[in-house]
């Protein structure tokens, strides 16, 4: 048995080694580091805490329990699949950044204190932005800047929240916080920003689709799931989360239906899936929390699979807009099938992974009598099938033939997608594989006649609606377009107002200078006509002394007034 070390160390070491190797050697080193890291996690006991006193702070940079352990396993699976998917990428920056990013996610979920969490929180932000910038377009550069600004805002709020927390509790340990006091709210909003709460979600739908084909696969796995983990640890049972989750599950699906960029459609469905997790955390019973965590687990894999399949399409055709794609099943049949497995999983078809996790949250909502929320989630489930389950494969691989002929993506991409697809089916068929690792004690069986029948009815009739709308020509076609969103305020309105203000100030300045010139011209004329006053108005020394004189008069007035 090997000795245990910090979980992030192996991936950070791999990131440091990547620039010195190329091709096969780089692949061997990265994959063996991930294997070592997996072994390290595998041999961890179910509870463990390493403590360390830094100045007067009691820190525990490494703490293990069942909740963090499950996310630890998940992030290893995600890193492994992501690294295989990006083996063909030559850029060392991109490869290193994705390893630091995955390592930071591990560091964050095994952080036993808030300060360690904050450090990895910032590492996540900084390392991930390189995956966006690596696209190399000016558009991705700008989106990356906007992304970074929001991530740093989240970090600042977290840090201020932590300071208030420390002031209040004299402890930094990362456990239940709850919405009490200013520290609770600050930390809640900091987590919420990274979780893509409504109004704070634009960084995700804006930047994820601008990253490289491989970068988005990493991005979709880590940032939001670290935030989900943090909320599950610090704010379980916070009822507000139920309603936030309801909104998150619903509003993105409307955008997803009319969005043209297929990776942006997936970004919206990412927000929608996190909505389900938020509801689970908000309900806060053992079953609901297990559901939220299980859904995070399955989501990373099937959302990763969907982002990989769209990444493969972008990689091979250079296009990702639904309006420019179609008919690709003819030249990419394997990718098509793998994409459909992902689509079936996110739609929660029985025997696919989404079914075993989403139904836990829905059942928990019913047990706790959240009847309205349950109806909303059911609507969102039908909507997910509509936009992610049908729209994504349909517009990319079927629909009208775009005439694009290409080939299957590189073997490593196919391999990564196949691993994810196998996992989706395995988890769907053998739910205990996942259930036995869930952190809380709650009995649940996903497969019973009612569940299977009702879910199939919901899905098949959603598909029927899609077919009917298409046959009636009511389905909105994919159009090259941009749909304005909440970020309209920061991207359009704010710059406009700022421009107006600057313009106003410039005109004001101009008019003042004109007025001043007129006035001084008049004075000079006056002086020329009346030489005796000349010295007072233009002589440098005299005007200074005049200023001093008047200032002393004013000060004297002040002095007198203060005594009255």
């Amino acid at each position: 048995m090997m000795s245990i070390t910090f979980p992030f160390l192996y991936l950070f070491a791999a990131a440091a080694l990547v620039p010195f190797f190329k091709g096969k050697w780089r692949a061997v080193i990265t994959l063996s580091m991930i294997a070592l890291s997996t072994l390290n996690i595998y041999f961890l006991p179910e509870t463990l805490e390493w403590q360390w006193t830094f100045l007067q702070y009691e820190l525990s940079p490494f703490k293990v329990d069942r909740l963090s352990l499950l996310f630890g396993y998940l992030f290893h699976i995600a890193a492994f699949i992501g690294v295989i998917f990006s083996l063909h990428v030559k850029s060392a920056v991109q490869q290193s950044a994705s390893l630091v990013y995955a390592g930071s996610a591990l560091g964050a979920v095994f952080a036993g204190d808030l300060l360690t969490l904050f450090i990895f929180w910032e590492f996540l932000a900084i390392s991930s932005v390189f995956l966006i910038w690596a696209r190399g377009t000016s558009r991705s550069f700008k989106a990356g800047i906007r992304y970074l600004l929001v991530q740093i805002l989240s970090g600042i709020l977290l840090l201020i929240g932590i300071l208030f927390y420390w002031h209040q509790h004299n402890s930094l340990s990362f456990e239940y916080i709850g919405l009490e006091g200013i520290h609770g709210w600050l930390i809640f909003i900091a987590f919420g920003i990274k979780c893509a709460f409504p109004f704070f979600h634009n960084w995700l739908t804006d930047a994820y689709p601008e990253a490289t084909p491989t970068g988005t696969v990493f991005l979709s796995a880590f940032t939001t799931k670290v935030a989900v983990y943090s909320l599950a640890r610090a704010f379980p049972g916070t009822e507000l989360l139920v309603y936030i989750g309801g909104v998150m599950a619903c509003f993105p699906i409307f955008y997803a239906v009319i969005e043209n960029d297929l990776r942006r459609v997936l970004a919206y469905s990412l927000v929608n899936q996190i909505g389900f997790m938020m509801v689970g955390i908000g309900i806060g019973t053992a079953l609901a929390l297990n559901g939220a965590v299980a859904h995070a687990f399955t989501d990373v894999i099937f959302k990763g699979l969907l982002f990989m399949s769209m990444g493969a399409v972008l990689h091979m055709t250079g296009r990702i807009n639904g309006s420019e794609l179609g008919g690709l099943y003819k030249s990419m049949p394997k990718t098509t099938i793998l994409c459909i497995v992902g689509a079936a999983s996110i739609s929660a078809f029985p025997l696919f992974s989404g079914f075993i996790s989403k139904s836990m949250i829905m059942t928990a909502a019913l047990y706790e009598n959240y009847n309205g929320i349950w109806l909303i989630l059911l609507f969102a489930s039908a909507g997910v099938f509509h936009h992610a389950g049908i729209k994504i494969p349909y517009f990319a691989f079927f629909a009208h033939d775009s005439g694009i002929r290409t080939t299957e993506p590189p073997k490593n991409m196919l391999l990564a997608m196949s691993i994810a697809a196998v996992l989706c089916v395995l988890l769907g068929v053998f739910p205990t594989l996942l259930y036995q690792h869930l952190p809380f004690n709650a009995e649940y069986t996903p497969y019973d006649v009612t569940h299977v029948l009702t879910q199939l009815q919901l899905l098949f009739f959603s598909a029927l609606a899609f077919v009917w709308l298409n046959l009636k020509n009511l389905y909105p076609p994919e159009l090259p377009s941009v749909n304005i969103e909440f970020d309209w305020f920061s991207r359009k309105a704010l710059p406009k107002v700022a421009k107006k203000v600057v313009q106003l100030m410039l005109t004001l300045k101009y008019q003042l200078s004109v007025a001043y010139k007129k006035f001084s011209g008049a004075l000079i004329k006056l002086n020329a006509a009346n030489p005796s006053t000349y010295k007072i108005t233009s002589g440098n020394t005299i005007s200074t002394s005049m200023m001093v004189f008047w200032i002393s008069v004013i000060l004297a007035m002040f002095l007198i007034l203060s005594f009255i």
Partner: protein, 97 residues
């Protein structure tokens, strides 16, 4: 660039029809199963006969129609933010078949 080969599965309209008919049959079976399977219900309106099929169908139609209406409100030109970019060069382009 249009492909002239007619050998692909969905190039034949009959196969598309077949798929759609398959869907109709599945929907029919799932509705009929409600007569034979007594499913339990917990939610106050879940017990209604045909609740799930109706909710799925109507929900999706409303979703799409509302989204279409939203387009009128939200849709802007592709270059609205002044950052439209041309499609990237594909990694491997084999052109036509």
């Amino acid at each position: 660039m249009m492909s002239t080969s007619n050998k692909h599965f969905f190039d034949n309209p009959k196969n598309v029809q077949l798929l759609i008919r398959g869907l109709y049959v599945c929907c029919g079976i799932l509705i009929l199963l409600e007569f034979f399977i007594s499913r339990y219900s917990k939610h106050p309106i879940e017990w209604i006969w045909g609740f799930y099929p109706l909710y799925g169908f109507v929900g999706c139609v409303i979703l799409v129609l509302v989204a279409k209406w939203l387009r009128k409100l939200l849709m802007r030109d592709e270059n609205y933010y002044g950052d439209k970019e041309e499609p990237e060069t594909p990694h491997i382009s084999k052109g036509e078949h």
